[in-house]
Symmetry: C2
Subunit: 365 residues, 2 copies
């Protein structure tokens, strides 16, 4: 992956950099690739006016391959990685690129809101911070989760991100006090409950020949469009279904996961993911962060990369950046944020307010 | 498929109608479906502000399945159909929807132009009619194709479309004289050299259980982004590669094709497709239309549906509407436009100026 940040680099350059890094890492050449799955958000969210990015990739690789694009808003990276598994080629390159920081904030906010349901939610101006804030309020009401719990999630992920050279907030220390006192965005969220928009690209190559890391589980589930259509707004069924299927495929349980990258678009989403993936009982997600289980020195560190919060969230590339982090952890290359002896890792990536969710389990072969 | 036209119906309603028609036709229920591949153009081309249409489909089907979206501009339908083949599920539903007519023409033109290369072509205002007009000029110069040949393509496709109740120009007769005298758009194209924007949806179900029609060949190829990057602007290598691969998979040759739907976004594109798919030698495409080979009463009728020209071109659904037409032809259900005894048919769908191309060969089992 490229560094995630606010640098003004074109989607061509970022895509080229991420593909080069992945090809070098895999010791493969463009000629070895059989197909490509690209994920990139639509024009307007993305500042690049390049609707046919599949052909841009053909131009960059100088290879006229089968190439498809699989966007899924913030869940694009995971959806593309899932699709790439299932295409049944020997070597599939999976690339995610988005350039969103130079899009102005009002346009970006409005266009991302278009991922919400378009009859009631969009009409009401239910932007994603507001939508997730309502979920957080309900979770707090129902299960006694507090804003202090949410702040601990932000604090943990910023501590981790400060150790990740590819992260937006690499080297930047943020105190728990600063986090708690940051400006209000949408009750109960303040600034540090929200992830940060960045530009970036990430790439993974799924190969039948290279076997140091195995994809042991790969599942994608789609939930109904609007949270109000669902039985319970505090349980995200896409996560439940995709998680269950991935664990079943891998033939392991939550106990076996050494390290995980979970979709912390907002702090509450990480807590709900603890519960919906089965790392604790429903409503007890807060205990994992209170007891430090998911801290870097805990039993199962979560978001060692910094997560969407501190590594940054460039929309489509997020799901692949999670894969990059888990692969690096399983290979023992993470330096000061390395989880010792990590053998099995999990990624969890969401598009919309739980609308589409993928879970992947990676295993040291 | 729904009727293609200028009706103001939401993407939800059109998608629901097309899925219902396909499920009824296949005698399947939503519960029988294992996965869905959706194709829909991005916000701004499409008037519907619904970025996460995958979740809208979950809501419509009331099924929380794996659902991905595979947009590829005008080649979306074919790319999605190709992807659906390769996902390896028992029953995959493939849905294409676009609502573009209520988008204003200046916005639509600009946004579709964003499928062109974004550094030189877009900056020069090279909209698709202009881009294809340059290709036509070069083809005329190189091979002696005339504007009268192009007019014959338009005339043929309008004759066919007048017989298709689902077509935008159903029942509308247009004389060769009207076609030749229509207003100039971009030399050598006049109005009737260009396809027509419509709203619509189309759906196909790929099933391991139903075997009256077999997908004998399915190929996707991506060419470089800009025509100026290619060796020859009058040969579209995506078509050559995808065609060759599809014929190889099916184990047949061009002689075996009884009926074909080719991507006539502009009249010249149909002539180039004759050549690049191998139905004649390079440069001799004009002979097929002059001699009536591809007319409804010819040896190999092309675009019996009316094609993009007269059935209409709603961007993503075009590739699936081609599949619908070929399936109906192979089943002998096409009434006054039926090709007698058709056993094998071909579809050819392009996104961009040849940037991404799919070819499918369907066969009566």
């Amino acid at each position: 992956m490229t560094k995630f940040g606010i640098h003004d680099v074109s989607s061509f350059e970022m895509g080229y950099e991420a593909m080069s890094l992945a090809l070098n890492d895999a010791q493969l050449k463009p000629d070895d690739i059989d197909a490509v799955v690209v994920t990139m958000e639509d024009a307007k969210v993305n500042d690049e006016k390049q609707r046919l990015y599949v052909s841009a990739v053909a131009s960059l690789l100088k290879k006229k391959l089968p190439i498809i694009r699989v966007p899924a808003v913030c869940g694009g990276g995971g959806a593309a990685f899932w699709t790439a598994q299932r295409l049944h080629y020997n070597n599939v390159l999976c690339l995610a690129v988005d350039k969103i920081v130079s899009t102005t904030t009002p346009i970006l906010t409005k266009e991302i809101m278009n991922a919400a349901e378009n009859i009631w939610e969009q009409e009401e101006g239910l932007i994603f911070p507001a939508q997730n804030a309502l979920v957080a309020q309900m979770h707090m009401e129902k299960y006694g989760t507090t804003h202090d719990d949410l702040s601990l999630i932000a604090y943990k992920n910023h501590l981790n991100g400060a150790l990740n050279p590819k992260a937006r907030f690499f080297g930047k220390k943020i105190s728990l006090d600063e986090i708690k006192k940051s400006p209000m965005i949408a009750t109960p969220f303040n600034l540090y409950d929200c992830s940060i928009s960045v530009n970036g690209a990430a790439c993974a190559i799924i190969s039948n020949d290279k076997t140091d890391i195995e994809v042991a589980g790969s599942a994608l589930a789609t939930d109904y469009l609007a949270p109000f259509e669902r039985e319970d707004m505090t349980t995200w069924e896409g996560t439940v279904k995709a998680g269950r299927e991935a664990f079943q495929q891998a033939g392991i349980s939550t106990e076996n996961i050494d390290v995980a990258e979970l979709h912390d678009a907002f702090t509450i989403v990480e807590i709900i993911a603890y519960e919906d993936l089965g790392f604790c009982k429903k409503g007890e997600g807060k205990e994992l962060i209170r007891k430090g289980v998911t801290r870097l020195d805990g039993k199962m560190p979560v978001n060692t990369s910094g997560g969407l919060k501190a590594r940054g969230h460039p929309i489509s590339p997020t799901g692949l950046a999670q894969v990059v982090e888990i692969v690096e952890q399983l290979r023992g290359r993470c330096g000061s944020r390395q989880v010792k002896g990590a053998k099995i890792g999990l990624t969890h990536n969401i598009g919309g307010a739980g609308g589409t969710t993928s879970v992947h389990i990676l295993k040291r072969a």
